[in-house]
């Protein structure tokens, strides 16, 4: 299960703009790299990522090998209620990953 690091403000006021940052541990293998013995390392990149907050899809991305390894994403959402931010992603090997972080809204 890929590790992820989610960065959110400690707390946000209702209606405030919130900056969300996430780094996910994943090689985003291009398929062009060669391993020490010379064989090609097959392509395996996260291709789909979704973030949900209070049941709403607040961010979605289709990623490709042009995104750097250990992908980083930064986007914005509006704070409404205290709830969890729910991240889910899927890679070319059909391995899913997920991560959660709590947004405290005052």
């Amino acid at each position: 299960m890929a590790l992820a690091r989610i960065d959110l403000p400690q707390e946000a006021r209702r209606g405030e703009l919130v900056e969300v940052r996430i780094v996910i541990q994943h090689p985003m293998e291009t398929g062009f790299r060669r391993a020490p013995q010379g064989e090609r390392v097959p392509r395996n990149a996260i291709h789909s990522l979704v973030c949900r907050y209070l049941g709403i899809e607040v961010f979605r991305a289709t990623l490709s090998t042009g995104i750097a390894a250990n992908p980083f994403l930064r986007f914005f959402l509006r704070a409404t209620e205290s709830a969890e931010l729910d991240f889910w992603w899927l890679d070319d090997d059909e391995v899913q990953g997920s991560a959660k972080a709590r947004l405290n809204v005052t």
Partner: protein, 226 residues
Amino acid sequence: MKLIFLFVVLFSGAALAQNRSGLEFASEEVRRLQASDAENPGMLWVDQGAKLFAQKCASCHVSMKGVATRYPAVENGRIVTLEAKVRHKEAFAYESDELLALTAYIANQSRGMPIKVNPPAEKLDIGRKAYYSRRGQMNLACAHCHEQNWGKHLGAETLSQGQPNGYPAYRLEWQKMGSLERRIRACMFGLHAELPPYGSDTMLELELFLVWRANGLPIETPAVRR
């Protein structure tokens, strides 16, 4: 032989007027990445290390604060790295994510603290000699770039002093975390020299000298380097 001796005499002791971290020679992008825990990919390994530490080490070990500043150390006449200590309970493979994560976590616990290794003087001799000896097809010694020419350009890059204070580090070239030994091997590869095996005596002696040379520099793990 005489030339090496002369070299060593001239350069033994503090050979650099002032130790400078690799961060000083890094691009803005690299510096920015290292400065932000939220964006530094190396922190993923530190997080993983924290989890592993809690699972496997916390039953005996409490705080790792300050520990990394004392390694490599000389114990019972042998050079011991942090990696070797971590492997005492479970023999994680060199460069495995687990070993990288644990050593990154432990070093991160000493982030900001100055390196303070204090080996017996004679233990530094072999590593020091290796540092000043020409090697590889390029026929260069570490000192040629990192002592005589740091700050100058090699291609589009600025030569650093080759300081080890940020390791394990996230290297953009590797697209992942890597150890100091991996970095040393990468340098040797650039010289088209033989690569010392991980954990070998050659490697340990060179590591000891490199870290001793860096005494006083604050630990930056997880550093970001190109």
